[in-house]
Point group: C3
Chain length 336, copies 3
């Protein structure tokens, strides 16, 4: 990997100064600076192995707003899939290796964004984020992580920015697991946890037994929170966790311990009472409700919460535009 390049692969190893610079840059770019041709002539390539609405639209608009251009490449929608393993005889479904795919792309654009979700089959493989790191090794231009198996830095940055705007001070934040119809990746809860840790909030992660987050991410978040004057705790008692919360951040995720087992979907349906409803919000200290979207109404969160004034999910989405302008400027070496 060209470690000298300003990649943005994960929040877990982002220096505190870089984190601060990005959040402050995002705030500046939310104003008139965000509509000036700071990035005139720059090209940004986006490679999506998975579907996207917000990430893709926000980058395409961010690029346009700043005078740059974003190319959208959807694997499966006009682009073949890519092999990322070294030394493999490529006689299977992958028509191209990341080395060549990203190698050439890096000769045509000035930075590359990559979305490659967790496979949800092998927890150890997912924890290594292999496609993301293979791309970073192959690329001669900066790589931005648009959600990988392990992290979703742009979501985390937008979440942090939203709490700054809505709360404005260090606070108790509850990151709560929620029910779903199928097991989902852990990138978003990891990112939110790391982001709130960077901000020095007092984060409580609440989930049923068996839904532990990645231990390495949890350790990094604990370290980052301590350095920033905050804390990280984990509990299976959501009810207790909600007391005093200023932020309730809901997200469902699958149990890595159940990957590949028949009961993976059953497990995320087994705790319908973890839905965030009015009663849950009533236990908090007037908390705002957050979710990264897309969200399933009536499954993850009750309409009464999502349609209430406490919900800031649309603000989170809108913050993506500001944040992605900031990461784009950093990747392209432009002060903003």
């Amino acid at each position: 990997m060209s470690t000298s390049l300003p990649h943005l692969l994960s929040l877990r190893d982002l220096p505190a100064a870089t984190w601060r610079a990005l959040v402050e840059s995002a705030e500046r770019l939310a104003g008139p600076a965000g509509r000036a041709p700071l990035l005139a002539g720059h090209r940004f390539g986006m490679v999506f192995f998975n579907a996207s609405l917000r990430t893709r639209t926000a980058f395409e608009v961010a690029a346009f707003d700043l005078g740059a251009h974003a190319v959208n490449l959807q694997v499966g929608g006009g682009l073949w899939s890519l092999e990322h393993r070294d030394g493999v005889r490529m006689d299977g479904p992958h028509a191209e290796h990341v080395k060549e795919g990203f190698g050439v792309l890096a000769r045509m654009v000035d930075a590359i964004g990559l979305r490659a979700f967790a496979g949800l089959v092998d927890a150890a493989a997912d924890a290594a984020d292999p496609i993301l790191h293979a791309a970073a090794r192959a690329s001669t231009v900066p790589i931005l992580n648009l959600e990988s198996a392990l992290d979703h830095p742009h979501q985390g940055l937008a979440d942090a920015l939203t709490v700054r705007r809505k709360i404005g001070e260090r606070a108790k934040v509850v990151l709560t697991w929620a029910p779903h119809i199928k097991p989902l990746p852990l990138a978003v809860p990891h990112a939110a946890l790391l982001a709130f840790a960077h901000e020095g909030h007092d984060v409580v992660v609440a989930h049923p037994e068996g839904f532990d987050l990645n231990a390495g991410i949890l350790a990094d978040a604990t370290r980052l929170a301590a350095a920033a004057g905050g804390s990280v705790q984990v509990t299976n008692d959501r009810s207790a966790a909600l007391a005093g919360a200023r932020v309730v951040y809901a997200k469902s995720w699958g149990s890595p311990a159940r990957y590949g087992r028949d009961d993976a979907a059953e497990a995320v349906q087994a705790h319908p009472d973890w839905i965030v409803d009015g009663a849950a919000m009533a236990r908090t200290d007037g908390a705002v409700f957050m979710h990264c979207l897309p969200v399933r109404r009536g499954v993850v969160v009750a309409d009464e919460v999502l349609d209430s004034a406490a919900s800031v999910v649309l603000d989170q989405g809108a913050a993506r535009l500001d944040v992605q302008k900031a990461t784009l400027c950093r990747a392209l070496g432009v002060q903003a």
Copy 2:
């Protein structure tokens, strides 16, 4: 719905002054004004639930010609499908609700176009255009209808503009049903009918028994035509209708009465003699031939007609660019 926003949802309730302003703006934008940066810095989001060639290309080019940028979002091609019903527990195939999908999109762009075809299963549901109206309620920016279950305003505007350019005066227009291999939506015939009514033409709708257009649309068209000095008639006798026609507008549509029945496809194949061929055109007063495209040669219209000088289908397509520049300017509040 934010009724104060300059949505363009249907031609049926468009004030006469707005109709006139749009058509005249389209004519101006067909000239050098259409290549000036009138919309510099504006962003337009397009959400397609169904395939598109002309609509999408025309908007993307219109935006570029005027200094704006169009983001193309294809549901199913990198974007999940959306739930539009209120109060539903979302445990089915839809990963996101229109409220959140359009709510966030409206924070990233300045206007949104939406294509959501008829389901062709439940005529009453289609007649309510539920996705379009749910999007208009959820959005804080103007919504443009890029073809819904019930209407296709941009096609109607382009059709009206083409008749202005080719005929230049009020005339007898025959909107004739045509055969097909499968039942198609009614949005285009509705739009053409409403557009020609706005223009004050004498419109005759000709179709076999059982293929009635939506009664509400027909009533609105009759009202609009009368107000503009024209008329609307319906007949099952195409031969008589063609006499004296200056315009033959062909389009196939399915029979709403047969939605969900096994004979729906059979029904549109049961009248092969409704193809528009040379003999049919010979009955007219030297009429031009129109079709919205895409068109099936040898099924809807004979090659001898489509390849003749009477065909203006390519001009209709080209007019889309002028028209969509006009609706974009209106949506974005720019005088053009």
Copy 3:
């Protein structure tokens, strides 16, 4: 076909002066001229019947770099397929004819690129490149071939440019067939052969028995090479061919004689020793290794070659950007 339009359909009938002008223009556009708004306000439509990474990205970036805009239309990804035959009753899967599809598109953009791969079912049909020529007949703006059944002019131009940059003089070039897991089209070997012929190289085409290239293309290449002071030879003895080679260009292709037969895949797997490995490269005169990409590692070429300093495949990919700027300028009538 509007033969007066500056289409770029094939390298086989390109005048020597045009070839030279394109290559020289590509070299100029590799410098600062390639980032100037030479094409401000121009619109380029791209219609892909097949997947693309490099071609599509390079055109989108080329257009942006020069102030133009490229619209990307993917058949099957939001665009229906097109009928190209004349006089057909369109009651099958094709919803639109090329005449209308390209006819309207040509009214919205200033030039059109088209990718339509070989069908690999009927060699005679492929050899006629029917979709490409139907599009050229239907279009009133220049058509650029983005890879057809028979040719891939932009790849050939990029290959020629890469050899100019890496070798810089007329040289022995071996175009060698390579193994694969399935039969592939012949457009790329044809294009490379024609390009190296235009450049006056001494080209040796090496392939196992039964994998003959199109006879017409071979005849044209022989004629072009002779006119440019070079030569074309064909052999089944790769080992002998490699002696003295300065360039090894590997590419797999299917055997047209086997189209539609059960053993088509078996045939391309029957010569695993045709892989380009270190031993093969050792027979050359310090040759560079070329491939158009995407390439299957361990099947077409050994890692030891592709990862060595001899490999210039990424440079070939990068040259696409320069070349496509040149063909775009030519199509749009801009001196560059």
